[in-house]
């Protein structure tokens, strides 16, 4: 949904013919107030201001009011309540359990995804080309499937009565998994959700990291081999340091995405996640649209944004550095 969701967030390679210093000098010398670029940028700025900046401000205002359904219909200004919404939320044990759950899920799912993604990327380097092509094609398909669809697929596979997963586990001698409900126990339910998120996330991670691996200088590896380094030493001392910036970026992105987990839970829990399945995103949504507590939902959203800012600041810095190159 965000641009950062996209496979091509990073800009294409900077042109080799980026303006050289003399060019810049010339541009600087003939600089005068330029209206053309501002006019070009106006439509974009107007749209961003109207549909992103304004709602953002509105959300902030709303979080200090108490908006009810009747205000929505009458258009009357809701009463101001100061920090009451925040007080309600921050003193609510349920909210903190949601925060804790979201944080734990994020750490666990991102760790598993990154380790597996790196493992698959390294594996891609080691296999024969035929197997590698099969791996890439499979991952492309998985990557291309919309989140909502993959959530539906998993829902079907773990279905208590007709799901293929129960059937396959049931085949193991001595195990009875017929009609087993995967969501009755939240731990099992979260294992399913995490598996889905990791499964859908691996293609992006593995293909990105594999592309990064191809940039590791071959002579460095050969030198390490000649010096008698073990594969583990090569990985630790040569490959990982070169991959570091890339790993930092994909980890940050994964944290942002998984922290905002919504779709998978929403679809797997029939659009009404139980208490044990709420994440910050579904919780804010349920408060706002399920119970028409728009102000409470706004306050939760504001807190979520603040929580995410730490991670995002880091990402902005990375993106900005890339953007400054040309």
């Amino acid at each position: 949904m965000h641009a950062v969701d996209s496979p091509a967030t990073a800009p294409p390679a900077p042109a080799p013919s980026a303006p050289s210093t003399p060019d810049r000098h010339r541009a600087r010398r003939r600089r005068r107030p330029q209206w053309t670029p501002l006019i070009l940028a106006i439509p974009t700025l107007v749209l961003l201001a109207g549909l992103l900046a304004y709602p953002l401000g509105r959300m902030l205002v709303l979080s200090f009011q108490d908006m009810q359904l009747r205000h929505l219909f009458s258009g009357a200004t809701p009463p101001w309540v100061g920090f009451d919404n925040y007080k309600d939320i921050l003193t609510d044990g349920v909210f903190w359990s949601v925060v804790a759950r979201t944080a734990i899920f994020t750490v666990v799912s991102v760790t598993i995804s990154i380790v597996l993604g790196l493992g698959v990327a390294l594996l891609m380097q080691r296999v024969s080309s035929g197997v590698r092509i099969a791996m890439v094609i499979t991952m492309m398909f998985v990557w291309a499937i919309p989140q909502l669809v993959s959530a539906q697929i998993f829902k079907w596979m773990v279905d208590a009565d007709f799901g293929v997963l129960n059937y396959m586990i049931d085949q193991i001698p001595g195990v009875d998994f017929a009609n087993h409900s995967w969501f009755a126990d939240p731990t099992q339910g979260w294992i399913v959700i995490t598996t889905l998120v990791v499964w859908a996330g691996i293609p992006f991670l593995a293909i990105t990291l594999h592309a990064g691996l191809t940039q590791v200088p071959q002579d460095l590896r050969e030198a390490a081999l000649v010096d008698g380094a073990s594969s583990w030493q090569t990985l630790r001392n040569i490959i990982l340091p070169v991959l570091r910036p890339l790993i930092v970026i994909v980890t940050t992105l994964s944290v942002i995405w998984n922290f905002g987990l919504f779709t998978q839970v929403w679809a797997l829990r029939d659009s009404k996640p139980e208490q044990e399945y709420q994440t910050l995103a579904t919780y804010a949504f349920t408060q706002a649209f399920g119970r028409n507590e728009y102000s409470l939902g706004s306050a939760i959203s504001v807190i979520t944004v603040i929580l995410m800012l730490g991670v995002m600041a880091f990402y902005v810095k990375q993106m900005f550095q890339i953007g400054e190159v040309d």
Binding site: R58, M59, W156, I202
Partner: protein, 280 residues
């Protein structure tokens, strides 16, 4: 010395290939399972012993998905919304990208900051004010409201990506054209636009995928008759109980455009991802 190593490495390759094939099977299984289900008759879908191959393959599920309430309406809605949003974002975004890539002006850095910064606002957080805003403007339950929302959704990324494509066109070409007596407009029309053509296509496809996949906004703002297929998939499941066969057929149809576009652009993906990142 070299013989044992190559032998060890051959054994290693066999082991690696085995793991690789296992990986492919595990990863591909869910995809296979949709295909398998979508072509099974209802009796086979709801059998307690799942069959790993449709024994009597049928297109019934596709037929009943297409005949299901709102399926075709929502398919058409999705196409209209997505096309409008992408076309709008490309036109508006190209202008801003041109400004960033080709002009050094006061406020350029600020513009870049804005374009990058807004991408980081979690969309879901904006849903409440967006809903209130569009509700007041009478734009809920309309395709216009969602189209504009999606346009803005893909706009920052459109600007940023197009900026890269424009920057890749050598400035010398612009300058040569200007020297040869072209106006600014002609330079744009004859040099930059044709040379960024492939970039425009790639960017539109990404935008299409983003807009096509979105469902939370449209599901919140609109009724079933003004939703898209994603929202249909969700509603279909909750309102009528789960008819798995038609649902999987619907899921296949819904993801088809994305899969096709995705495979079309897959060559550019790795390049786009690592550019700058590794060197940065």
């Amino acid at each position: 010395m070299s013989t044992p190593r190559s032998q060890r490495s051959r054994a290693g390759t066999v082991a690696a290939n085995t793991v690789g094939v296992l990986f492919v099977i595990v990863m591909a299984f869910p995809v296979y399972w949709v295909l398998n289900t979508a072509f099974k008759p209802a009796s086979e879908v709801l059998s307690f012993t799942p069959s790993f191959w449709p024994e009597n393959p049928t297109l019934d599920n596709f037929r009943s998905a297409i005949k299901a309430p709102f399926f075709l309406v929502d398919l058409r809605n999705g196409l209209i919304i997505t096309t409008t949003a992408v076309a709008g974002a490309i036109v508006v975004g190209f202008l801003a990208a041109l400004a960033i890539a080709r002009f050094r002006f006061y406020g350029r850095r600020a513009l870049i900051m804005v374009v990058l910064g807004v991408q980081l606002v979690p969309l879901l957080a904006l849903l409440i004010p967006l809903y209130l805003m569009l509700n007041r403007a009478n734009l809920t339950n309309s395709l216009v409201g969602v189209s504009i929302t999606y346009l803005v959704l893909i706009l920052p990324y459109t600007v940023w990506t197009l900026r890269g494509f424009i920057a890749a066109v050598p400035r010398e070409l612009d300058e040569a054209a200007l020297v040869d007596g072209c106006s600014r407009w002609q330079t744009f029309y004859r040099i930059i636009l044709p040379l960024t053509g492939p970039g425009l296509v790639a960017t539109s496809i990404y935008g299409f995928i983003q807009a096509w996949n979105e469902f939370i906004i449209i599901n919140t703002l609109n009724n079933p008759e003004t939703q898209n297929l994603m929202a249909w998939l969700l509603q279909n499941q909750t309102n009528r109980g789960t008819a798995w066969g038609p649902l999987m057929a619907g899921a296949l149809i819904t993801s088809l455009p994305v899969v096709v576009f995705f495979l079309a652009i897959q060559r550019n993906i790795a390049v786009g991802l690592t550019a700058g990142a590794v060197k940065g």
